[in-house]
Amino acid sequence: MADGERTAFGDLLRPIADPPVRPDLISLSASATAAASAAVDPPHGSRSEADRLGASLKELADADARIVFVGDPGRTDPGLALPGNAVRTAKYSFLTFIPRNLFEQFRRLAYVYFLAIAVLNQLPQLAVFGRGASVLPLAFVLLVTAVKDAYEDWRRHRSDLVENGRAAPVLDPAGSGQFRPRRWKDLRVGEVIKVLADESIPCDMVLLATSDPTGVAYVQTINLDGESNLKTRYAKQETMSRLPSITAGSVTTLIRCETPNRNIYGFHANLEVDGKRVSLGASNIILRGCELKNTAWAIGVAVYTGNETKVMLNSSGATSKRSRLETHMNRETLLLSAILITLCSAVSICNGIWLAIHRDELELSQYFRKRDYSGGDEKYYNYYGIAMQVFFIFLMAVIVFQIMIPISLYISMELVRLGQAYFMIRDKNLYDESSNSRFQCRALNINEDLGQIRYVFSDKTGTLTENKMVFQCASIRGIDYSEGKDPSPNGSDVYCVVVGDQFWRPKMLVKTDPKLVRLLRSEGETQEGKHARDFFLALAACNTIVPLIVGTPDPKQKLIDYQGESPDEQALVYAAAAYGIHSPLIVLGILGGRCCQIKIKIRRAKYTYICRITDRGDCVLCMLGCALPCQCSTSHGIGFAFKTQDFWPFLSHSYCLCYRLQLLSSTLTASGFIACCMSTLTHIYGRNIFTCTPGICRFNVLGLHEFDSDRKRMSVIIGCPDRTVRLFVKGADSSMFGVLEKSIDLDIIRATETNLHAYSSVGLRTLVVGMRELSRNDFEEWQSTYEKASTALYGRGSLLRAVASSVENNLQILGASGIEDKLQQGVPEAIESLRQAGIRVWVLTGDKQETAISIGYSCKLLTSEMTHIVINSNSEASCRKSLEDAIAISSKFVTISSRAQNTITGSGSARVPLALIIDGTSLVHILETELEEKLFKIATVCDVVLCCRVAPLQKAGIVALIKKRTEDMTLAIGDGANDVSMIQMADVGIGISGQEGRQAVMASDFAMGQFRFLVPLLLVHGHWNYQRIAYMILYNFYRNAVFVFIMFWYVLYTAYTLTTAITEWSSVLYSVLYSALPTVVVGILDKDLSRRTLLEYPKLYGNGQREESYNLKLFILTMMDAIWQSLVVFFIPYMAYRDTTVDGSSLGDLWTLAVVTLVNIHLAMDVFRWNWITHLSIWGSIAVAVMCVILIDSMWFLPGYWAIYHIMKTGLFWLCLLGIFAAGMIPRFTMKALAEYFMLNDIQISRELEKFGNFNDFTGTEISMSTFSQTHPGFIR
């Protein structure tokens, strides 16, 4: 299994961001639990084998290792150097908050710039503003962020407190052997901790023992990696058997383990008990954050605690990306910096020239007075020569004009994105009812990228489809059974398991074919019936499913929930159950009427057993609640077990023995006392019982060859009631046809192939099932090699694989199954909308080509009028050739269509659509070679690209193919761990929080429940976000530029000495108070178009793709407008007051009020939708500005005392204001009026349409839906 090997041999410190590669959905589960390893070493397939191999190859050096004395925290950690189990997710403490928070914040370059300016201002020669005023804006921004951080941190503190205060039973170190509850935060490394069922695990622990005799514990890792299925972990037999002495402290047990690291899939340690060394792997450790399930209790020793646990080491935040708009913004910021430097240089050079010209006058002139006469000697007063003066003036100019680079923009953008995220999260259209999940914004700084997407790379399974596999049809011995009928709602024809007075029925009901049902009932009489039974037996046995019993409100009814890692296997097992062949264990109930319940208490854990005496005198024990039955062959065994009152050690002791006995006597003729555990999956050969209708048969699973990606099949060896031994194999068609016995049944194979083709052409996932009866010799040969392989110390995985390959041949074909991968709701419509919006949807899937194409059809990605270009090549040369052919074809089509466009006017979209279908093998030869360029060329011409059989890294490679060569924004959407690399590669990564765990979500920027939400997300929110942020950035640039230019014009009249008429307080408050709120409100709330319009006309999305709301041209226009408005604001009062007694403060107040009102009116003119919040913020801001100016002028110690009252009394003031508004706005208003009416713009037309148009009557723009008629791919007719 590629998965296991990578984990074991890979770098142990491999970050979580690089998750293990999942064999990509190839038909069968790649379950981690494998069968039939030696019971002494709980089997864990190649993973544990690899672990062990790794451990023995790379013996842990004592220096790097952590040595844990089990049950003795004092010796483990004498200096208390290891951290306690208290966790701190909180970043700050009371004392460290200020320095650390400041440090975090100043990692932003912009803040450093403002800090530098504030520091410059503190130099006496440069002090332009008062000290307070210069620090205030930065302090304000820092404060707002700090308050936000503090609030978040406080919440984390609270949850930490709750977490740390939980209690867990801990072994009393005094040696009493008792477990006493202790708070989590007081747990220490080396302590022995007990975890009960359904409780969370407090720290990373090595399992010592579990309630299960075989040492199995089931854990749910949903909090860790998000996968909801149960995982098996094992306690070593060495510790299981010695638990009493370990807890009593009489045996020294120590564990050498690696130092804490963040690899949740690997663990490297060895255990030393009684001088014996055993190696430990990832399957022997349970991690903090998981929950114990289906296991009454588990005892373990803490090895990593607190912040050293793997879950804590992995809890790093989302990756931070930078939006396209922000990157562009930086380009304009550079331009602004250039303008700023120009202004500053102009001022300082002019000042130098002025000083040089007036050199002689300045000694005496009253306003300059170069010399200080007060001291008697004639030294210069505050004058350092022209060069220094110019230098100082330059720095002062930087201070005065600093807001050219808008500091408030950074905080405004954060607030706006926060607000936008709030609305996206709250949007009921993005809420998924079925998974009860809201939209999640995991990255806060790329909201606006959602409005500029050109490429969508989508995973298929779980993203386009529900990843809920439903068994649809079967081909058994070449006969197709696909007339499935829905099970009747009252479940009368559902096969149930009767346990006492309870009915257990499968959780999921599957359609059954009546013909097949009849056939199965007549089983035994006809050959077909036998084959059908064998087929379903194979489906029921050949898997790694864990059944769970789930209660219902009706106490008499229980549901059997088949849990497994592969949804395909689940579907198959449910199908088998629907046809009457129930998978393991729970069948016990059917065994007969003589059932009794026995309750036993072992070491405080209560067990309920159902005991049943079989006709042969065998006794079957089933432990309820954890679904682990134990079989005792005679009543003798049971009697013994109960008499000792110590059932559990006895079991574990005899464990080894019992499995051997069973193995030898596969028919199980009740040899002596055997207590045999039939563990759910794998541990003992005689584990499984299947029932078949009619009557009950018992089949013993003798061996299981797990799935691996080389063989692409799995097999199971079963001892049947008729004393034959059979091998059942199930696998992908490509791998199965090679191992079939072709000499017989050739016509059946042909028929099956035809059926398979039919299945996959309607989008079903197919599997082929084969069988072989093993002769006694074959079996014995297999058995010995198998045993050897499974007990081998080195290279066990490859040995087992060899055994499997040797036995899996000459199979007789049983049939094939077709599983429907249901399309998610609304997927075809969503794809159509995205396509209309000019977004190219590429599907990248691990499925085979036929399946991918059929799904492509059913989700309307492919249409019948498309020309398909298929590239399936095995070598580089053939790849090159097929690519060149493809380019030739596509260019032909393009020229034809362009000619068609020229001749037939009015049919602009009459281009022949092209679809490129390419498979993973070809991509191996293309990606990262020079052929990439060709692929890019052809792929960008095609309307649809479908990549099948691609590996996870190839997915990322395809995203990179586009990302590297174009400026276009890419979006990747997926749900599984195999999509992680692609999600991280794309500009925007979206995770579907669906069936396959949360790894994709953890790696994503946004997460949502359904693929179809992409439409409202991109078309509505993306469009809004982009438009809003784009406008806000431009507006902020404009707003600050106007102000800076006004100050600059004034500077020209102050002998270039940077005096400001506008008070320093106003210039500081200008961008943080007078005009900040409206931009934020508009940035969050304004909508250019309604949701309905945007969804109705997906083409409106092109606005963002073409960067129409923010580009260099708009920036330059805005800047020119800013200059014009600043001229108006400055020169109207200047001209009007030129010949009056006006003082600087009064004129400054006029300028302040004029500019504040003007920029707010400017914003008001651009607002699309006025609601009360917009009104309040815009008019409120003006009012606040007026009040602030009045307040500032009421301070007697400021030079401008009472100025505003004096100037407001004059008519000239009001006339100036009015004139400024009119003259300032005329150019913009005229341009706007002209543009809106005469330059046809889709957004403008749609706005008019919203206001005047009649939506309902209008159908002209509806693009005719594809003619492909089959909407439901589920059936073959």
């Binding site: 306003y367 809201r438 096969y495 006025w1170």
Partner: protein, 339 residues
């Protein structure tokens, strides 16, 4: 034995514990559906706006022009050179000029002195003052920003300190019509707010103009600063390098063609910075002073708006289009783009 469940229903979901639904609650706010008005720049609105501005602005412009016309203004340039002459304390700096009143001027006629090329807004200059010192006697020593006129050479504090006070304008004017002296009222020329709150009534000039270089006027040390109105007017620094400051008022009317003889004590040194001094007599109108600019500006803006209104009407007539016609949407238009 083929037990068939007679189970009641397929209640699959019932087994799951009831989860707290995370479904967002509907509110107009969270769904961004607040009632809002959506203004559009329709032709009607555009034309109305321009016409409205034009119609408002033109009368205002005319009115301001006429108001400005009513204000009379007699600037008189006072020319003299030689720094040495002005710096000498002994020479007689009196000179006289004759002005002709162009029009009837109703009292009060404001007398302004106008300085040109005097950067009262120079950074060195505007900062060189101490508002605290001016306000109260207790803060007499607050002279931090007053350098180089903070203290005398022996270290005692100058009140009022700083360059601004030091450079106080000190030309004096007296007016006579036909040898009859016209009374100049120098009371209430400063802002009342300044007199009451900014300049202390207990602050008396001290060590003023005792340094090596005399900047301007001397102050009577027995009058508190709050009564030194010339100083108060001067200390309200002008916005621009050419500025006027109120000198006093003539309360009587001046008839047209009257010959006024102005006797000027030309004390203030403008020669050190190539400055110019003007004397201005002016009445005020409701918009303040004589100024044609605003009226002209209003007329210009107003007529521009009217012109634009006309222009838009013509444009709308020449190239009409239906608002909100979906056939104008880019994907509905013909590929060659005409509509």
């Amino acid at each position: 034995m083929n037990p068939r469940g007679d189970s009641t229903s397929g209640s699959d979901g019932a087994a799951e514990p009831k989860r707290k639904s995370k479904k967002p609650r509907y509110s107009r706010f969270t769904q961004q559906e607040l009632p809002a008005c959506k203004p559009l720049l329709t032709p009607a609105i555009v034309v109305t706006t321009f016409a409205f501005i034009g119609i408002i602005f033109i009368p205002i412009g005319l009115l301001s022009l006429s108001a400005s016309g009513q204000a009379n203004c007699i600037p008189e340039q006072l020319q003299n050179d030689k720094v040495a002459f002005i710096q000498s304390s002994t020479t007689n700096k009196t000179c006289s000029r004759t002005l002709t009143v162009p029009k009837n001027m109703e009292g009060p006629v404001h007398i302004y002195y106008e300085l040109d090329n005097f950067y009262q807004n120079h950074r060195r200059y505007v900062k060189s003052r101490s508002d605290k010192q001016l306000r109260s006697k207790a803060s007499e020593t607050e002279t931090t920003n007053c350098a180089p006129e903070a203290t005398t050479s022996d270290g005692s504090v100058i009140v009022p300190c700083g360059l601004i006070a030091w450079s106080l304008f000190n030309d004096t004017y007296s007016f006579a019509v036909n040898s009859k002296i016209i009374e100049v009222n120098k009371k209430n020329i400063a802002w009342l707010s300044d007199k009451e709150h900014k300049f202390g009534s207990d602050v008396y000039p001290k060590n003023f103009q005792m340094g090596g270089l005399i900047g301007g006027a001397k102050l009577n040390a027995s009058i508190p600063l709050s009564e030194q109105e010339d100083l108060i007017v001067w200390m309200r620094t002008a916005a621009l390098p050419r500025f006027r400051k109120l000198y006093g008022r003539i309360e009587t009317d001046l008839a047209a063609n009257e010959q006024i003889t102005v006797t000027i004590q030309n004390n203030y040194n403008t020669y050190s910075f190539e400055g110019k001094k003007n004397l201005v007599l002016s009445t005020t109108s409701w918009i303040g002073g004589k100024n044609d600019f605003l009226g002209t500006a209003y007329l210009t803006v107003g007529s521009l708006c009217l012109f634009l209104a006309m222009g838009f009407i013509i444009l709308y007539l020449l190239k009409p289009r239906t608002l909100g016609d979906p056939s104008y949407l880019s994907w509905n238009r013909n590929p060659d783009g005409h509509y």
